[in-house]
Symmetry: C2
Subunit: 389 residues, 2 copies
Amino acid sequence: MSDDRRARVALSRLVEPGHRGVWRAVQELGPIAVWHGLRDGSRLPGLSDELRAGAAVRAQGHEPARDLEALQRHGGRLLCPGDDEWPAARLDWPLEDGALAPPLALYVRGRPALAEVVERSVAVVGSRAATAYGVLMAGELALGLADRDCAVVSGGAYGIDTAAHRGALLSAGAPTIAVLACGLDVTYPKGNDDLFAKIADTGLLLTELPPGCAPTRSRFLVRNRLIAALTLGTVVVEAALRSGSLSTAGRARDLHRHVMAVPGPVTSDMSAGAHAELRRPGTICVTSAAEVLDTVGRLGSDAAPQPRAPASPRDGLDETVRRVLDAVPVRTPSGEASIAKTAGVSSLVVQQVLPPLLVAGLVERRAGGWRLTPLGAGRPAAGSDRAAS
Amino acid sequence: MSDDRRARVALSRLVEPGHRGVWRAVQELGPIAVWHGLRDGSRLPGLSDELRAGAAVRAQGHEPARDLEALQRHGGRLLCPGDDEWPAARLDWPLEDGALAPPLALYVRGRPALAEVVERSVAVVGSRAATAYGVLMAGELALGLADRDCAVVSGGAYGIDTAAHRGALLSAGAPTIAVLACGLDVTYPKGNDDLFAKIADTGLLLTELPPGCAPTRSRFLVRNRLIAALTLGTVVVEAALRSGSLSTAGRARDLHRHVMAVPGPVTSDMSAGAHAELRRPGTICVTSAAEVLDTVGRLGSDAAPQPRAPASPRDGLDETVRRVLDAVPVRTPSGEASIAKTAGVSSLVVQQVLPPLLVAGLVERRAGGWRLTPLGAGRPAAGSDRAAS
């Protein structure tokens, strides 16, 4: 571990992410000089006394080696500017008036290489208090994007974020990335423990904050700029007015990324924020993964190939999910224990796999258990529902 | 009646509205020369043999005086270019490639002066096969627009058109205009007989077609350009892909009017056309009458004043409607006969008045009859529903 990397770890402990003065000082003096300066209480150009006082308090008894040990213990790794895996094209944005600074370092857990994954990625964000409609739309969009090799980036929160990650996990296509507002070893929200484990299996967990850091309101907002910056565009699926997800859309706009929103019923307060976004010049109305890819591919980036024809939702499933799906009956609903037996997996696995399949519209819950929908059975949906029952 | 006017009546019988060649010939030679030429089978510059043959057949036994008599019998009047009531600024559009021509004359029934009414007007259009959501949105938008002195123009069809006219009729504000694809004396659709009578009471029925003409598919499409042209902008409330109402939006775009669309659930096929419109550059997402007026007022016309604060929906009702509304109980639902008795009107009137009040959210249907909603009772809606029951 070079001193330079160690200094970046230390700085991410001593100051909050996104600080413009610290980032500028690092660009000018290098991370080691800024770290030592803050640690030793020296004056540094552009950094206020208040910031220096706060950093000095945090520096007491802090040792970057311990953060790195904790990171390794949790299977994480450190990314710094200059690393192959560092997505320089996405994270090197100009510091315009009031903009938050790029990250000094990133803590990452998961197998894929970050720079490769985000090259073709879209953020899918929305409210925690999502409706069934929003959950369905987020799940469908994410599954469709992942099936078309587009990584889904979101914030790991309940509601739309969870539905987006889950939808993407149903696909064997592109991985999903959760950008956290806390340390990699901190599970927030607690109930998404399993989801984060699944994401780390095939995708990436990512944060600017060193191990142990708790999420705070300001950290969520600062984190949102990372979600916006890493991706070709941000899709707001369902958001009330003043939802935090609108700040992600705002940062995407600031960073000249595409801003998209999914329409919903005007009568639903949970779509009011999405509609407010749609009324802003430049925001694109999207109703499907193909339309999202059309937007980011057309006006967007060098990297986005032409959208492919939609694959069957069944095509991209991983092996366990496919086994469970194959064990769900077409006609007479079956209980979870019976499905588990047929599939040769535990009931716990069945309980984990069915809800995202429900979100994706492949299975349905009926009296007596679960059965396939026409879509799940691989039949055309229109008019075939009655034939299946 | 001048010969010039008589010629325009004759021409609207001999050729279909919107014909570019006929319109150009009238501009160059005057309506009398074109009429006599077509009647007598003469060659005219820019008019095909086919058109002349068709016109000659129609001219046999035709006498403009009879159309004018039929018009008068039905309480209608003729409008021609140059009349005070002729909305010249709206109907004098350039004949760009492929565009349909402006009307040669208009047949109008109703008291208001057309040119004044359309000065501040918006088209509210959508599918015949509307959902409850679309009917609600069209009714609310139209009521809100009329309350803010903006005339609602639509096509008199079932579904969204009917909801728009009904919503506007609930207001004592601006009148509503139905632009028909048939003669003023032809009731199409039949079931909207009462609606047309109500519109003619306070608003306007309008058509390019002389008395007796039946609606045809092409006449609907040609009529749509008039709806688009007469107004500051067109709002698509609910439309399936390939809905005729999208042609109105297309003509509005061609004529540099504002195009707006109301979002809806992506899961509803009846909103797919509105969403397709929203994906076109320049289409504005609108969710309320205030947003519609913001759009047409802001970028729009000379004539549009600043939107006023929303009035109470109860304020703008006509006297009969208000009497019926006052007779609807707040708590225990009451039958139509009982409401009629309290209001001092016939049961038929009550049956006509309640559905639009339902659309406007002022009354609700419960077991045992009708009662006021919190909105209808003039109380704030949030949380008060339980208190009212």
